[in-house]
Symmetry: C3
Subunit: 262 residues, 3 copies
Amino acid sequence: MIAVVRERCPLVHAITNYVTVNDVANSILAIGASPIMSDDISDVEDIVSISQALVINIGTLNERTIRSMIAAGRKANELSIPVVLDPVGAGASGFRNSTTDKLLDAIAFTVIRGNLSEMAYIDGRVSGTKGVDSSMTEKDADPAAIAESVSERTGAVAAITGRVDTVARDGRIARISSGCAEMGRITGTGCMLSGIIGGFVGTGEDPFMATSEAIAAMGAAGLIAYEKAGNVGTGSFRVALIDALSMMDDETIRERGKLEIL
Amino acid sequence: MIAVVRERCPLVHAITNYVTVNDVANSILAIGASPIMSDDISDVEDIVSISQALVINIGTLNERTIRSMIAAGRKANELSIPVVLDPVGAGASGFRNSTTDKLLDAIAFTVIRGNLSEMAYIDGRVSGTKGVDSSMTEKDADPAAIAESVSERTGAVAAITGRVDTVARDGRIARISSGCAEMGRITGTGCMLSGIIGGFVGTGEDPFMATSEAIAAMGAAGLIAYEKAGNVGTGSFRVALIDALSMMDDETIRERGKLEIL
Amino acid sequence: MIAVVRERCPLVHAITNYVTVNDVANSILAIGASPIMSDDISDVEDIVSISQALVINIGTLNERTIRSMIAAGRKANELSIPVVLDPVGAGASGFRNSTTDKLLDAIAFTVIRGNLSEMAYIDGRVSGTKGVDSSMTEKDADPAAIAESVSERTGAVAAITGRVDTVARDGRIARISSGCAEMGRITGTGCMLSGIIGGFVGTGEDPFMATSEAIAAMGAAGLIAYEKAGNVGTGSFRVALIDALSMMDDETIRERGKLEIL
C-alpha cells in the first residue's frame, strides 16, 4: 500500500493545529504524499478541489478556522474527496465538544481517528446514551465496541489509537499492536498519524485497509525509531521517527507493523 | 524537584507564539509534564480549569489572543493556578508594551521571566521611574536590582535570564550560571524555559525554588547539549538540548545546574 | 558575503506561514542574522522600523495577516528597508492570486523568489500576456526568460528556484546548480531560503549578488547535508541542513555553491 502512496503522491490538504503542523507536513512528505496547508475561508475550497484528501484536526481551533473546516469538508464531500477527522481534545472542553458536534453534523467523514476518550465522546454524542469521561482508560471501556458504534452511526472508518490500536468499519475490525510508549513522550504523533492516514486514503484505495495500513506504518516506524534512539532522548527519537517513515516500505510494514484483521 | 514533576505530571496550558510552540510542547513533555495549547476565547477557561499551570507568552500576539490570555489568566487566578508570563519583546514595540501593561493590570502572575531589556521595561512600567532601553546590556543595569524591584512591585517571582540568570522574590536571590552561548543561536530557548517553569511551578512546590530549579535544569541541558553537539551545528544542538531535558534528573541538576541561593 | 551577514547580524522581520516558521527562524539564526516574527497590524510597523529586512511569505495567509503584510511592506518602502516576497502557491488558488496581485500593487519588492509556476503566475500578471499553469515545468517555460520579464516589470531581483536556480536583474543573470532533490522531501526549504535571502539583503549589499550568494549558500548546505544524512532519512537530513547552514562560510559557498554569473 505505501508503494501506491509513493507512486501516486496524493496531495493532502490539512487544516490542522499550529503546534504540530510542521511535523504533520514532514510526515506526509516522508510517506511519499504531498502536503498543503490552507485555512482561510477564501482559500480552502480552491485548495481542497485540487487535493486527493482533506485532514481536519481541531487541536488549536478558533471561530475563523471552524468556518473554514466546514466549508472545506462540504466541498470535499461534493467532490467525493476523502475527509479525515482528528477530534483533538473532544471531551475535554465545551468548545471542543460543540465544534466536534458541528463538524459531525456538517460533514460526512471517511475516517475518524482519536484516542479512547475522544472517541468515547463522539460515541456518546452519536449514540446519545453513553457518558463521557476525558480520562477514560482501557479498563473503563472496550475500544472495539466504541469503534464499531462510532463507525456504524457515522459511516466512517473509526480508529482508536492507544497502546493497541483498533480500526472498525462494516463489521470488520483490525488491531495494530506495534508502536511504543516513547511516541507519547513527543508531541504530535497522533496528528502526524492523521496526516499519514490522509495520504493513504488519498490513493483512492479501500479506506478501512488504507487506515489500518497507515497505522501499521506509523507503529513500525515507532519501533524502528525506538531501537535507534530510544535511549538517547526524545529529540533524537522524533528525528528517528521521521527518518523511519521516510524509509518505510510495504515489507517493513508487514514484518513490523503487527496488523491483524480480526 | 524534577522527580516531582515526573511523578505528578502537571498539565501545563500554554498560550504561546506559533514560532516556537512545538519546541515548547516537546520541552514540557521532556521534563515529564504534559502540555496543552489552546488560545480561543471560547476554550481557554475550560482548558485552564483542568490544568496545573498556565504559561502566557506574547511572542506573536494579536487582538484575538490577547483577550484569551486575559480570560485564561483571570480564571487561573480565581482557581489559584500558577501563571507564568514571558513578555517577549516588551520594550521593542508600542503594542508589546501596551499588551504587557494590560496583562500586568489584569492578572496576578506567579512568575515573570524575561531577558534584561524585557524585565527592564516591566520594571520601568511598574516602578514608574526607570527608563527603558530595548538594547540594554548587563553593563547598563544590575539584573539583581531589576529582578528585586519587579518582584516587589508585582508579587511575582522575577527571573532575568542571560549569560547568568537571576531569580528574585521576597528578599531571596538565586543565581544560575550554567547554560551556554549556543542556546542563543537557536530560536525558542527562552520560550522553552518559560514552558518548563510552568511544569515546575505546576507541581505546587514553592515558586521561587521551582523557578530556580527549572532554570538550572535548562542550563544543565544546555551544557550537556553543547558537549554533544556544540561543534556539529545548531540543528544537532537543538535536538541534543531536547534529548538532555528528557534525560534530566535531580542529580544532574545539582552537579551541572550551577544554582546558588545567595 | 556570509561573513558580512555574520558580522552585521541584520534583524530580519518575517511575516510568514505557521507551517515552516520555526525552520525559517532557525535558518536566519544559522547564517548569523537575527529573526523577529510579528504579524499583527498594531505591531508590524514598529517592528519593521527596527529591522534591516522584511520577508513576506503568503503560505498560510488570511485576511488579518494580509493587512499586516501591506502595512509592513509600505513602511519598509518608506524607510528604504529591503523587502523579499515569497508568493507561496501563487497560481494555485484565486485567493493566493489576488493576494499576490494586491501585494505587488502596494509594495515595491527588492527580491521576489518562487518556484517556476509561482513566478510564471507573476509574469503572466505583470506582463498581462502569458498564460498561467500551476503545474508548469522546465519543459514548458524558460526560467531565465520569466525571471528577466518579472524583474524588468517589477524592478525586483527575480529568483526562480528549482533543480537549477535562476536570478535576474537589469540584464544580469546568475545560475546556481547546487542543491539536491532531497530538499524537496522536507517541508520549508523554499521558505527557509526566502528568510536567508532576507538576511543577505539585510546587509545592505547589492541585492542581485546578495540573493545569488544566499541561494548558493542554501545549495551548498543541501549538498553537505545530503552527504551526511541523505541515506539516513528526511528527519536527519533536515537537522543536517540547519547544521550545514550554521557552519557555512564564504569559502564553502565558493567551492560548493556552483554559482555562475552569466
